[in-house]
Point group: C2
Chain length 348, copies 2
């Protein structure tokens, strides 16, 4: 039914081998013959049977992506970046959502291996250590795109979560906030959340504010969890002057709660988020946050993965994407600063 190379060969009056050579633009076929073949391909609307090709060559031009929570704006943009760059480089994407469950991750890993993917991007954070073992065992090129992996063998692309969290907390302290509460990520999240936590602790220490674990309320990166976390915070620590939520959505949820309670943001309480999703510019008050580009993160991940797949020498398998503190409307200064030290910004 489907047109095969055989049909093309017959129509062009050449052998299978020659057709194959033309299709893979081998240099050793006469211009004239190549033309005949190309015409036949055109005429028959021939499409290669990829399975046969993969079976023979063992390379699929397929990249696997396993993620979780990709409906969050930041990660949705990450996926977009991955897709765009993968297409650019001639890869197609096979995409699986793990819901953060190890079993599903394992499952997808198997499926993808069976499909002979050339490489894999991992965007899950909960059981990454177990995952790592499997992947290493499978010998498939991998890039983590959800945090810093200390294992020197494992390539990763990520924002510098520690530094970024440090930056934003340091900023809050610098403008005079002393009573700061936090809406952290899930304890299960072993990467981004833990790293941001480290950055926070570091900044607190530097500003001589004592660490109080009570002031860290766990959220799950949703608006809803930010909303209810804010409620807990105001309940337990009514004299809080600033809240740092570990992502923008929770920050926006928190703002919503405070406004509903008639608490003015930022006049009474300052709020900062993390990620710099587009939305943060459009809520009122616009969100002070750490800006990083999910799209770029995705792009860089594929770039790195591609280098590894092609066997290029990789100068550094730990890649950081830039981040920037963006001060908008949701934060208030409790003490004045000289102009020059006003905005802290950093990128690495």
């Amino acid at each position: 039914m489907d047109v095969t190379m055989k049909d093309v060969a017959k129509l062009a009056g050449v052998s299978l081998s020659t057709v194959s050579r033309v299709l893979n633009d081998s240099s050793l076929v006469r211009e004239e013959t190549a033309l005949k073949v190309k015409k036949a391909v055109e005429k028959l609307d021939y499409q290669i049977n990829d399975s046969a090709r993969i079976l023979r060559t063992n390379t699929s031009n397929l990249i696997g992506v396993i993620g979780a929570g990709m409906e969050h704006p930041f990660l949705a943009n990450l996926l977009k970046g991955i897709e765009a760059e993968a297409r650019e480089k001639g890869f197609a994407l096979i995409y699986g959502d793990s819901d953060g469950e190890f079993e599903k991750e394992q499952n997808y890993l198997n499926i993808m291996k069976q499909k002979k993917i050339d490489g894999i991007i991992l965007i899950t954070t909960n059981y990454y250590n177990d995952l790592l073992n499997i992947v290493k065992n499978y010998q498939i090129p991998v890039v983590f795109a959800s945090g810093y992996i200390s294992d020197p063998e494992i390539p990763c692309v990520t924002v510098d979560n520690v530094a970024a969290a440090y930056d934003i907390v340091e900023y809050l302290c610098r403008v005079g906030h002393k009573e700061i509460a936090f809406i952290k990520g899930p304890d299960l999240d072993l990467l981004a959340s833990q790293e941001r936590l480290r950055g926070v602790k570091l900044a607190l220490r530097m500003s001589d504010i004592k660490y109080d674990s009570q002031k860290f309320i766990e959220g799950d990166f949703t608006f809803e969890s930010g909303y209810s976390a804010a409620e807990k915070i105001m309940d337990r620590f009514p004299n809080t002057s600033a809240i740092f939520a570990f992502n923008d959505e929770m920050a926006i949820g928190a703002i919503r709660y405070l406004l509903e309670q008639g608490i003015k943001v930022p006049e009474e309480i300052s709020i900062v988020g993390f990620d710099g999703i587009e939305l943060g510019k459009y809520v009122k008050p616009a969100l002070t946050t750490i800006e990083q580009s999910g799209y770029e993160l995705g792009l860089k991940s594929i770039e790195l993965l591609n280098q590894i797949i092609e066997g290029q020498e990789v100068e550094d398998n730990k890649v950081f994407i830039p981040h920037k503190l963006v001060v908008r409307e949701s934060t208030n200064k409790l003490k004045n600063l000289t102009e020059e030290m006003e905005v802290g910004s950093k990128s690495s």
Copy 2:
């Protein structure tokens, strides 16, 4: 290098055919033999070579998804629904973003055909007619998940855009708004946008408000475009009392503009959106909108596609998902209503 069925057969002391039968749980193999094979599979950690299987059987358990603008929250959830249900049904997903460009769509269609996908979900809206021709020609089961396709042969799953747009405009009229402006979608969008436009016109006619094309400003579904559209509207039609944006993000962008200008929402201007993205509940004022579930849309799309792939009889290849008018804080009533006619809601 890789373990093949041959290795399994040798270890188990049976033939290739038997191994294959066990793997596909054929009934005609003795329990005892099956056990031997399973043990060998286990021991060798055998993984099937999918390409070989696809080559032979011509079915891939692969579903292609071609979309555009999937970073928008509503569509991100649609993708999530697709993924979840596809996994449930034993399909893996190959995902491509077309950026709304016909060439890329064509390209992905080819790639997917070459990979022998079992079916395809289309979420693009710009050149759907040309796409349709290709797909029909390819003879691959397809489901459109981005609007109503009138061609009776083509299955689609969608919200009833006409009815939903009608509902929300009718509501605005009912509560006394007469000066309504609109932020429509791109003219290139031949599905959702045009359908919503039809619904709007219908509602205006029913409420005896004359249609004025000047009052329809084109946006592109981003916050930014909503913001600048609102600016144009206020500029040209300062006595506008309500704005209907064709999605929630543009509505939120519009709100931001108005608030910045010191125009009170909803006291001076009412705003309504479309989609019911989570975010709409958390902005201040919370958004009045048409709620539909992207997740369910995705789920239903795969359900339908699966039926078609399996050759089941499909009682209706045009599926509508429910929608509901949700009145929150961004709209104001200009005249009072009796309680019972207050909230209009409909689902189909």
